[in-house]
C-alpha cells in the first residue's frame, strides 16, 4: 500500500496501491485514507494542469507547422518537421516591428506614469490629512466597480473634441491614471509604521522628501507588483486601441495581429500562431520572473476590497 509521495505527481496518481517502491519515510504517519485522498488531489491537479496548458502547447506547436498542417485530420499535435522559418517570415509578412514598437512605448510610458502618480497620490491619501480626503478616496474606490465599457462613449467624445483620437496619447491618458494603482499603493503605505515619517519630519524633512527618500525605497515590492500588472495590462489591452487607433502605423500588437488574420490572403494560420507566440513571449518571461509580485499584488488588492 505504499505510495511514493516524493515522486512526480503523475506516478502515484495513476495506480494507487500497485506497489510503487516506497521512498516516503517521513510520511509514515499518514493513514491509508489520507493517502488515497492525496492521490485523488494529484489526479485532479494533473488533469487541471493539462487543461490549463494545452491551448498554449497547441499555439506553440502550431506556430511551427506548415500552412495546411494546422487543420490536418487527424490532428497533428506535434508538427512532422519544425518550421523555424515561420519565425523569420513573420517579420517580413507583417508589420510586427511597428506594432511591437508602439506597444512597448505605450507599456513603458503608462507604467512609469502610473507608478509615479499612483504612489504620489497614495502617499497623500495615506499620510496627509485634508478636508474631503475620505470622500475623495471613496470616489476612487467606487469607480473600480464602474466598467470602462459604460463610460467609453463620453470619454471618446471628449477625446475627439481635443483631437487626441487616433494618437498614442489617447491610450496613455486612458491607462495611466487608474484608481487601482492608488488603491494598491495606499494599502501598502498603511503597513509602514507612522513613526518612521514622524521621525523624519522632526529631522526637518519635507513631505516630498519623506515620500522620495523613505516611502519609495520601502515600497519597492508594491511598486514591483503595480508596475508588472500595469505593464502586462497595457501590453494586452485590446479595446482601448480598437476604439482609438485607426491609422495602421499607430497599431499595437493586439490590434495588428487581429487585422493580420483577416488580411491573410492564403489563410496561413501557422503564421498567425507564430505572431501570437511572439506576442505572448515577453509576457511569459515577465510573469515567470516576477510571479511573486503578481500574486502578491492581486492577493492584497482582493483582501480588503
Amino acid at each position: 500500500m505504499d505510495l511514493s509521495l516524493t515522486a512526480p505527481p503523475a506516478a502515484p496518481a495513476e495506480h494507487p496501491g500497485d506497489g510503487t517502491p516506497s521512498s516516503a519515510g517521513q510520511q509514515n504517519r499518514m493513514t491509508p485514507g489520507r493517502r488515497i485522498g492525496q492521490a485523488v488531489v494529484y489526479v485532479v491537479l494533473l488533469i487541471a494542469s493539462v487543461a490549463l496548458l494545452t491551448p498554449f502547447f497547441w499555439m506553440v506547436m502550431s506556430s511551427l507547422k506548415s500552412a495546411n498542417e494546422v487543420f490536418s485530420v487527424p490532428i497533428n499535435w506535434i508538427p512532422d518537421t519544425f518550421r523555424w522559418h515561420n519565425f523569420v517570415d513573420i517579420w517580413s509578412k507583417s508589420d510586427m516591428v511597428t506594432w511591437i514598437r508602439n506597444t512597448m512605448l505605450l507599456s513603458v510610458v503608462v507604467t512609469f506614469l502610473q507608478l509615479l502618480t499612483g504612489s504620489f497620490a497614495a502617499y497623500g491619501f495615506a499620510r496627509i490629512r485634508f478636508p474631503g480626503r475620505d470622500v475623495l478616496f471613496l470616489l476612487y474606490i467606487g469607480t473600480i466597480a464602474v466598467p470602462w465599457q459604460s463610460y467609453m462613449i463620453p470619454q471618446f467624445v471628449m477625446m475627439s473634441k481635443v483631437h487626441l483620437t487616433d494618437t498614442l496619447w489617447a491610450i496613455v491618458l486612458i491607462q495611466a491614471f487608474g484608481a487601482f494603482g492608488v488603491f494598491l499603493m495606499k494599502q501598502f503605505y498603511e503597513t509602514i509604521p507612522e513613526e518612521l515619517s514622524e521621525a523624519a519630519r522632526l529631522d526637518g524633512l519635507s513631505e516630498y522628501a519623506i515620500w522620495r527618500r523613505i516611502m519609495l525605497p520601502l515600497s519597492v515590492p508594491a511598486l514591483a507588483s503595480l508596475g508588472l500588472i500595469t505593464f502586462v495590462t497595457t501590453w494586452n489591452d485590446y479595446l482601448g486601441p480598437l476604439i482609438y487607433l485607426r491609422t495602421p502605423s499607430n497599431w499595437t500588437i493586439q490590434l495588428g495581429l487581429q487585422s493580420f488574420i483577416s488580411s491573410l490572403y492564403d489563410a496561413n494560420y501557422a503564421l498567425m500562431f507564430t505572431g501570437l507566440t511572439i506576442s505572448v513571449i515577453p509576457i511569459a518571461v515577465i510573469f515567470l520572473l516576477g510571479q511573486r509580485y503578481f500574486v502578491e499584488g492581486i492577493a492584497s488588492s482582493g483582501l480588503k476590497g
Binding site: P55, V73, L139, S150, P154, F177, N236, S300, G305
Partner: protein, 279 residues
C-alpha cells in the same frame, strides 16, 4: 492635496467627468457631428422596445448565469486543493495563473481554432472518447455562448483562485484543529469553518465576478464577434455598435447607463445580503 493632484487631474478628467457626462448624453440625441438636442427619456423608451437590445441583455444574463457559478466552484475547489502542503503546488499555481495574464486576442484566436468543428482538437478529443456528433461550438447558435463561458472560465479561474487562496490564509488554523478534535468530518469542517471564514472574500469575489461578467466584451468580440447571428451579442457590444459603428452616441449612452445601473445594483444587493447575514 498637492500629492494627489497629478493623479487626480488624469483620473477626474478621464474617469469622473465621462461618468457624469454619460448621464447627460443619454438624454440627448448626440450624433457624429457633435450636435445634440435634449430628448428627455426618448432613448430609454426606444431601448425598451429595441429587440436587439433585449437579445443583448438576455445573452449577457445567460453568459453570467453560466460563468459566475462555474468560476466560483472551480476556483474555490482549486484554492482548497492548493491550500495544503503538497509538492508541485507552486507549479500548479503558475499554470493556473498563466491564462489570466495572456492577452484576450491570443486566447480567443487559439480557442477559435481549437473549437473548429471538424479539424479542431476539442472535437477530436470528444470523438476519441466516444461522442459521435460533437457540437459545432462557435458555429452553432446553441453552443457558441457555452463555448464563450468555457473559455472565459478557463482564463479567469487562476485569478479568482489566487483571491480565494489569500482569503483562506485569514481563516484561523485553531478553528480547524478544534473542529477536528470535536470529530467533525472534512465536509463539516468545510461547511462550518471554511465557508463562514471565507465570507468577506466570497462577497468581494462575487461582486467583481458579476461586474466582470456583465461587462464581458473583448473576448466575445474576437472569439465570435457576437455571432453566429446574434447568439453571443452582449450589452457592451450593443453599446459599441450603436456608438462607434452607427455614431448614435446618445442612444449608446442610454444603453451604457443600463449597464452602469446593473453593475451598481449587483454591488448593492450582494452588499445587503452580506450585511443581513452578518447581523
Amino acid at each position: 492635496m498637492s500629492f494627489i493632484l497629478p493623479n487626480f487631474l488624469g483620473f477626474g478628467l478621464l474617469t469622473l467627468v465621462p461618468v457624469v457626462t454619460l448621464f447627460y448624453m443619454s438624454l440627448t440625441n448626440w450624433n457624429v457631428f457633435g450636435t445634440s438636442q435634449w430628448v428627455g427619456l426618448d432613448n430609454f423608451k426606444r431601448l425598451v422596445h429595441d429587440r436587439s437590445f433585449h437579445t443583448a441583455v438576455t445573452n449577457t444574463f445567460y453568459y453570467s448565469a453560466m460563468h459566475i457559478p462555474l468560476t466560483l466552484v472551480v476556483s474555490l475547489s482549486l484554492a482548497l486543493l492548493l491550500n495544503t502542503k503538497l509538492r508541485g503546488v507552486a507549479f500548479f499555481r503558475t499554470a493556473a495563473f498563466f491564462p489570466y495574464i495572456t492577452s484576450i486576442v491570443a486566447i480567443a484566436m487559439v480557442w477559435n481554432i481549437m473549437f473548429s468543428p471538424d479539424a479542431g482538437p476539442i472535437n477530436a478529443l470528444l470523438r476519441f472518447v466516444g461522442v459521435d456528433h460533437p457540437p459545432g461550438w462557435l458555429t452553432s447558435t446553441h453552443w457558441a455562448m457555452p463555448a464563450v463561458a468555457i473559455v472565459s472560465t478557463w482564463r479567469d479561474m487562476g485569478y479568482y483562485m489566487i483571491l480565494f487562496l489569500a482569503g483562506l490564509q485569514t481563516v484561523p488554523r485553531e478553528l480547524y484543529e478544534a473542529a477536528r478534535i470535536d470529530g467533525a468530518s472534512a465536509w463539516q469542517r468545510f461547511r462550518n469553518v471554511t465557508l463562514p471564514g471565507l465570507r468577506p472574500t466570497t462577497f468581494f469575489i462575487t461582486v467583481i465576478l458579476t461586474i466582470n461578467s456583465f461587462k464581458i466584451f473583448d473576448l466575445i468580440l474576437v472569439l465570435t464577434h457576437g455571432g453566429p447571428g446574434q447568439s453571443t451579442t452582449v450589452i457592451s457590444q450593443f453599446i459599441y455598435t450603436k456608438g462607434f459603428t452607427e455614431s448614435q452616441f446618445g442612444y449608446a449612452s442610454a444603453a451604457s447607463v443600463v449597464l452602469f445601473a446593473l453593475c451598481l445594483l449587483v454591488t448593492l444587493v450582494v452588499f445587503l445580503i452580506n450585511k443581513r447575514r452578518d447581523a
